[in-house]
């Protein structure tokens, strides 16, 4: 695995590959995930879900179910307060508490197959399931609207009666929640100046994050109105805010204890089971555990949007992009809030283009409400643009990576929506891929092809808190509120160890509950090692400041006369008689120098732009002409990663995102029947890549330090998912001559395209005879 360093590392711990501190628990089965909690007297909750994609609820009767022995309580939306309709700031997201509440338990209408309608608590999960079958719900089925195209048609059935947008006005019911537009320069003049203009249309399917751990929560309600929820979530503070809004209780009355989390990829940044477990706990007086099955996860948690995209790009024959126009409609699912905005803000941001028009629409359809999925909105958007760029490169006869390098964004490039890039590594990333052994190797054999594509993701900053406690033996613990989803405890410990001059195994990282650390936003947006890492760095520096004060007191000098380096405090030689003390020696004297040393820090690092990341990928495929199955032969991903704190886990992010991108490209999709009922609700039919489907995933870490972070850290978690679908489409074209413009490029879809291609070639040949 190659690592390209811009500068030599000056660090002792950062950049090494220690064993993660929470590893032992995870390889021995001791780590507790969401479903692993058991409490005395605990009941089991199960959720009744709508069998209809779109229906009015006329009545719910549950007398029979309540009489089943072992059933302790049943709840419906009537047990929830009617929440505020006005969108509110909740953590880093803008959410309407009303829509959120209606998604937790349907109120009046069900809007998708699997929409929760009622929930039961019973003494065993089997009894709870039996009780669900005894609940009688009278539905009035309505016509479902399954795609953005259908939902945007005049006269389409309306999902949400009071949904309005500003363009259509206050009197026009609509399924379009938002239209966003970015515009720059003179589009017509830009296309006139081009020698080659290509316009194409694309579609992508609804896909799920596919985390292996289904959602699970245990609610415990105390008679004084205080409550605790143990839950697998990416954001314990987000759960606290959202759940208390839905339940109508003071935020401070809920303690959220984050379990270990079995994957999330954005899908565990909202609430599903949490308020239901709490509501059932309140009603029964017992702890209640609510777990989802896999089919519930697929039917009713938040996948990401399928989109419809139109892309038009013009280039000169020398390869300068003169203009680009992108139109996209994102399926939000049952309630507004698709990742359309970040899609529109990333779709062509890797390139410096003078004339632009980008339109994005957020459209409600009768599918589950979408949730974030790794670089939300960006992968589907990039599919179209990166495919059209490949076609343009071929048309004008230029290397596809050169086209990207020639037009690539760099320091000083203004993004289509305003901000100007600081130091970024897009061009370096493309150049690193171009120089790779893979890209320069020969690919031979029939039905084989190589494709490349690039991607961009902002990375988020937001708010984080951290505390560093130094123990009397000179070891330290680092406490943060960031759920560790992929090894971030290791990075937090390494950052503190770097600053304090301690060996890594003398720093214990802790993920605290919401009562035990300051507010911290979700583990999402590739922000933890960046923002929480910054808080840890600052908290450790706060410790160093206090250590210097203690030493200065002992040595009767000022803190400015004390230096701290690699765990040793010294007087400045030029000022005073030399004195020296290790952190360990000083720690033993805390009791006589003012008590324990506690370092604290909090950061608020702003929204978008906290160290943008770019990736470029090269994929070799072989297409089976008889089945349409695509085999990935070789794949290499280069990514601008800033300073890699723990390179193994950085590589892991690149590899994991690439694998998800490959699944998105080739197999994964939600398949609905004509009534809007999901047909593939298991992992046999929702086909994610296995290790037999994938080759080794080669990584190139391009370390361009982020100037806004003290250690040069840049978020690394997301962008790797963005380029694979387009790169694979481009590789399939090289292998077969067929341009795929719809995801997934599954065997039946590719087979059909290959057949059409053969027919048209035969037709042409026949016409030529």
């Amino acid at each position: 695995m190659a690592v390209k360093k811009e500068a030599h590392h000056k660090y002792r711990v950062v950049g090494t590959r220690p064993i993660r501190p929470d590893g032992i628990e995870k390889v021995t089965g001791r780590a507790l995930y969401g479903a692993d909690y058991y409490f005395p007297g605990m009941l089991f909750g199960k959720i009744l879900r709508s069998p209809y994609a779109h229906a009015r609820i006329k009545s719910i009767k549950f007398d029979k179910a309540l009489k089943l022995p072992g059933v302790r309580a049943i709840v419906t939306a009537d047990d929830l307060p009617e929440a505020d309709r006005k969108p509110q700031q909740m953590g880093e997201q803008q959410v309407s508490p009303y829509y959120l509440s209606c998604n937790v338990l349907a109120r009046g209408k069900v809007l998708y197959d699997g929409h929760p309608v009622a929930a039961v608590a019973a003494t065993s999960p089997h009894i709870a399931e039996e009780a669900l079958r005894l609940i009688e719900v009278d539905y009035e089925p309505l016509e479902p609207v399954m795609t953005a195209d259908e939902a945007m048609k005049p006269g389409a059935p309306i999902l949400i009666d009071d949904l309005r947008n500003q363009e259509e006005g206050p009197d026009q019911p609509t399924n379009v929640a938002t239209h966003l537009q970015f515009k720059r320069g003179d589009l017509a003049a830009g296309f006139d100046a081009a020698d080659c203009v290509i316009e194409r249309e694309f579609r992508t399917a609804t896909v799920h994050q596919g985390y292996i751990e289904p959602h699970a929560s245990v609610g415990i309600w105390n008679p004084d109105g205080h409550a605790t929820v143990y839950t697998c979530t990416q954001g314990s503070f987000t759960v606290r805010t959202l759940a208390t809004k839905v339940l109508g209780m003071p935020e401070g009355n809920l303690k959220v204890v984050p379990s270990e989390i079995g994957g999330g990829f954005g899908g565990k940044t909202t609430i599903y089971c949490e308020p239901i477990a709490l509501l059932l706990a309140k009603k029964t007086g017992h702890p209640v555990k609510v777990t989802m099955s896999r089919s519930e996860v697929l039917r009713a948690t938040g996948p990401t949007s399928g989109i419809h995209e139109r892309v038009k790009i013009g280039v000169t024959k020398e390869g300068r992009i003169t203009a680009a126009q992108v139109w996209m409609a994102y399926e939000a699912g049952a309630f507004p809030g698709s990742p359309m905005a970040p899609g529109a803000m990333t779709v062509i941001t890797s390139y410096d283009i003078p004339n632009l028009l980008i339109d994005g629409y957020d459209v409600v359809v009768n599918r589950p409400k979408t949730c974030a999925y790794r670089a939300p909105g960006a992968t589907a958007a990039a599919f179209g643009v990166e495919t059209v760029l490949d076609e343009l490169a071929e048309q004008i006869g230029i290397d596809p990576l050169d086209l990207r390098i020639m037009n690539g964004a760099h320091e000083g490039t203004q993004q289509p929506f305003g901000p100007v890039f600081k130091r970024i590594g897009f061009i370096e990333t493309c150049e690193a891929l171009k120089a790779s052994e893979h890209y320069n190797s020969k690919l031979t054999g029939a039905n084989r092809g190589r494709g490349v594509a690039a991607g961009f993701w902002f990375n988020a900053g937001f708010q984080s808190s951290a505390s560093v406690y130094v123990n009397q033996d000179g070891t330290a613990s680092v406490v943060t509120g960031s759920v560790d989803i992929g090894g971030s405890r290791a990075s937090m410990a390494m950052i503190a160890a770097e600053v304090l001059g301690l060996p890594i195994d003398e720093v214990r990282p802790v993920v605290a509950d919401t009562d035990s650390i300051g507010y911290t936003d979700v583990t999402a947006g590739s922000r933890v090692t960046f923002a929480t890492g910054m808080a840890v760095y600052n908290a450790a520096q706060d410790v160093v400041r206090q250590l210097k004060e203690r030493a200065a007191k002992m040595w009767e000098c000022t803190p400015d006369d004390v230096e701290f380096d690699n765990g040793v405090l010294r007087t400045r030689g030029d000022v005073l008689q030399p004195q020296q003390l290790t952190l360990k020696e000083l720690a033993a004297r805390f009791i006589r120098t003012g008590g324990p040393v506690v370092g604290r820090a909090s950061v608020s690092t702003g929204g978008a732009g906290a160290g943008p990341a770019f990736a470029a990928i090269c994929v070799d495929v072989e297409v089976d002409p008889d089945t349409g199955k695509v085999q990935i032969l070789r794949v290499t991903i280069a990514q601008d990663v800033g300073t890699a704190i723990h390179p193994s886990y950085v590589e892991g992010q690149l590899q994991g995102g690439t694998a998800q991108g490959i699944g998105w490209a080739l197999n994964e999709e939600y398949v609905y029947d004509s009534k809007g009922v999901l047909r593939n609700t298991g992992l046999l039919d929702y086909r994610m890549p296995t290790c037999l489907d994938l080759p080794a995933i080669e990584t190139i870490l391009v370390e361009v330090p982020n100037p806004t972070h003290p250690l040069g850290v840049r978020g690394v978690g997301e962008v790797s998912i963005v380029p694979p679908p387009a790169a694979i489409a481009n590789a399939i074209y090289r292998a077969t001559g067929v341009r795929m413009r719809e995801l997934p490029m599954s065997p039946p879809r590719l087979m059909k395209a290959l057949q059409e291609h053969r027919n048209s070639r035969e037709g042409q040949a026949a016409a030529g005879r």
Binding site: A524, G525, S526
Partner: protein, 89 residues
């Protein structure tokens, strides 16, 4: 005067204009100035006197974190952008 780039959905308030001029030394004053020129627009930018949570502001190419107190220069260029989140592993 600062130049404000009006998001597509709010251009109904500006008679379709994409770029408008507004005066003020900070963002609050700029929004007040916009409201005087284009009545009704401010309720789409502010919520209880604070910048709407769904918006991020970019001033002269930098994303602002200071909210409505953010300083605005004589020739500043101001963009109102949708806020973004993210999702990882």
């Amino acid at each position: 005067m600062a130049t404000v780039i009006i998001p597509a959905l709010l251009r109904q308030f500006t008679g379709g204009a994409e770029r408008v001029m507004a005066s003020g030394r900070n963002l609050r004053q700029v929004i007040e100035s916009l409201e005087r020129s284009f009545p009704g627009i401010s309720r789409h930018l502010l919520d209880d006197g604070e910048l709407k949570g769904s918006l991020v502001v970019s001033i002269d190419g930098e994303v602002e974190t200071a909210g409505i107190q953010a300083k605005v220069g004589e020739n500043s260029e101001i963009y109102f952008l949708p806020a973004i989140g993210g999702g990882v592993v």
